[in-house]
């Protein structure tokens, strides 16, 4: 797999070169996207131009009320992600290690993963109230990628790893920290990457529905008020935050081989 580490000079030069092309291409693609956006804004008057959108976003970020909304959304997403990662990681570990847990719960978990979970929001609202329900919704969104990736990662560990752990008399905790976690770091990171973005999506979708504060509410209010510049600016903020986070985690994931 690691063909990019040859001692021969020719390959070592060519491989990073092609990577640069890909990177350049990706950046070029982003620029192309901006140009198309600009042209579209010229053609369809309801779309604000990129520059105007960024200006609105900057102006928004100077106002206190908007900052409170942003803080509420990102804080809730963070809590949802952390809880989801903890619960999902623990459940995934159990599911990966125990054949009986798999037999009992796997079909239900796969079915739950395929559900449009947002329809459960009206059910969560009376139980967790307006402030807690969106965290729980974000948690539900964030839970499954970690759970499933950890479960698969643990299940497909080579049996010799566990034999080794037993032969050196490792305690359960030591086996977990020194053997299982390093061995499943890639699927774990994949799960983390998906969960981070999904936690944001879950919280924002809940805010579309009903909440007191948050960026999702700002988007929907701006939409119904016809304030498309504000709407675009907020969507831009949300999308770029989750895009950048996801991209960074993806690059980290590629480095960890």
């Amino acid at each position: 797999m690691t063909a990019a580490h040859p001692a021969t000079g020719a390959l070592a030069v060519r491989v990073p070169d092609r990577r640069h092309y890909a990177l350049l291409g990706s950046v070029g693609l982003a620029v192309l996207g901006l140009v198309i956006w600009q042209i579209a804004a010229g053609l369809v008057f309801v779309i604000p131009a990129p520059l105007a959108t960024v200006r609105t976003l900057l102006a928004n970020l100077m106002t206190g009320g908007y900052l409170v909304d942003a803080q509420v959304t990102f804080q809730n997403s963070l809590v949802a992600f952390l809880l989801g990662a903890l619960i999902g990681g623990a459940a995934g570990l159990v599911l990966g290690l125990s054949r009986w847990a798999r037999i009992l719960f796997e079909p239900l978990l796969i079915a739950l993963n395929g559900l449009p979970k947002i329809v459960l929001y009206p059910v969560l609202l009376p139980i967790f109230h307006l402030s807690g329900a969106k965290v729980v919704m974000g948690l539900l969104f964030a839970l499954f990628p970690i759970l499933i990736n950890v479960a698969i990662g643990v299940r497909e560990l080579p049996p010799v790893y566990r034999t080794l752990a037993r032969s050196v008399n490792a305690s359960r905790w030591q086996t977990l920290v020194h053997i299982i976690l390093p061995a499943i770091r890639r699927p774990l990171l994949t799960g983390v990457r998906l969960s981070v973005s999904l936690a944001v999506v879950g919280v924002v979708l809940s805010e579309f529905f009903a909440t007191r504060r948050g960026l999702g509410r700002v988007v929907l209010q701006a939409y119904s008020g016809g304030d498309y510049r504000n709407m675009m600016a907020t969507i831009l903020l949300l999308v770029s935050v989750s895009f950048v986070l996801s991209l960074l985690l993806w690059r980290l994931e590629r480095r960890v081989r």
Binding site: M1, R18, R19, Y21, A22, G25, S26, G28, L29, V44, I47, R99, R102, I103, F105, E106, P107, L108, I110, A111, N113, G114, L115, P116, I118, V119, Y121, P122, V123, P126, F144, P145, I148, N149, I152, E156, R186, P187, T190, G191, R193, L194, V196, S197, V201, L205, F209, V219, L220, Y223, Y228, M231, I235, L238, V239, S242, F243, S246, L247, W250
Partner: protein
């Protein structure tokens, strides 16, 4: 090695054929029966707790009605033309998105395989938009295309196309080169190389991609309807919530849950059948 690649492209799907090979296959079937039984028992137990809790007034029926109270509501739905109109609209949207998204994803996956540099250029975007912040573009889509079926179908198709494209690409890249060399040596046309050799070899990945595409299309359509729409299952749930009609709302939620579970199960069965056919031959 395929495991690592599969996770990369297919992070949310439990691959159905991850334990191939005849000796283990049989035991998996035994486990499958046990699993089905356990799931049925769990569901019945859950329903029982729900019914008992409602009967013991642990929560008010306005918040969570008992299952026995939902049965008449479900019966009422079956005779309600409005329900069928909603279901028809959502079904059409989901089918349309799966169709467009699936075909587009397959085409994109094949072209990325043919032109790897183009694939590398698009990869960061595909991978990052995988996790559906795309729903956030729905208000923009409404402004552009108008409130209605087309805006839902466009976004849901994109959501469905992404996992399909990534999985097809990874699956094709994992085709052993010797297959393609053989195909060339017996002078297959390019068309034959793709459809008779490469795609069948990549079938497990493509099918896993299709399963994700279906799930994403369904989730996307319902979530968008839930946000704003004039009809559809997602919209109706929200409407009934806003007008405090708890029992019909739960009936609708139940319908959505059951439909999505049936869809997932059907696709898992399809995947198993295809994998079993491959392992025999």
């Amino acid at each position: 090695m395929t495991v690592g690649q599969r996770e990369e492209a297919d992070p949310v799907a439990l691959p159905a054929g991850s334990t191939p090979g005849p000796p283990r296959r049989r035991r998996v079937w035994g486990d499958g029966r046990l699993s089905a039984l356990a799931t049925a028992v769990l569901l019945v137990a859950l329903g029982g707790c729900w019914e008992i809790g409602s009967a013991a007034k642990l929560w008010s029926p306005e918040v969570l009605p008992a299952p026995s109270a939902l049965l008449p509501a479900l019966q009422a739905l079956a005779g309600d033309p409005r329900f069928w109109a909603d279901a028809g609209r959502t079904g059409g949207e989901v089918l349309g998105s799966i169709g467009f998204g699936g075909v587009a994803g397959l085409l994109v996956g094949v072209s990325f395989w043919k032109a790897p540099l183009v694939g590398r250029v698009f990869e960061p975007y595909l991978v990052s938009f995988y996790a559906v912040p795309l729903v956030l573009f729905y208000p923009v889509m409404i402004v552009l295309v108008g409130l209605g079926t087309p805006s839902v179908i466009i976004l849901a198709s994109v959501m469905a196309a992404i996992p399909m494209a990534l999985n097809t690409w990874v699956g094709l890249a994992a085709v052993p080169p010797v297959y393609l060399r053989l195909a060339r040596s017996i002078s297959c046309t390019r068309w034959q190389q793709l459809f008779r050799v490469a795609l069948p070899s990549a079938a497990p990945y493509v099918l896993a991609g299709l399963r994700l595409a279906v799930v994403y299309a369904l989730i996307g359509c319902i979530a968008m309807e839930f946000t704003t729409a004039q009809a559809g299952l997602g919209y109706r749930i929200r409407y009934l919530y806003d007008s405090f009609e708890t029992a019909p709302m739960y009936a609708y939620i139940l319908v959505v849950l059951v439909v999505s579970i049936i869809l997932t199960a059907l696709l898992a069965v399809l995947e198993r059948v295809v994998m079993a056919g491959r392992n025999r031959s």
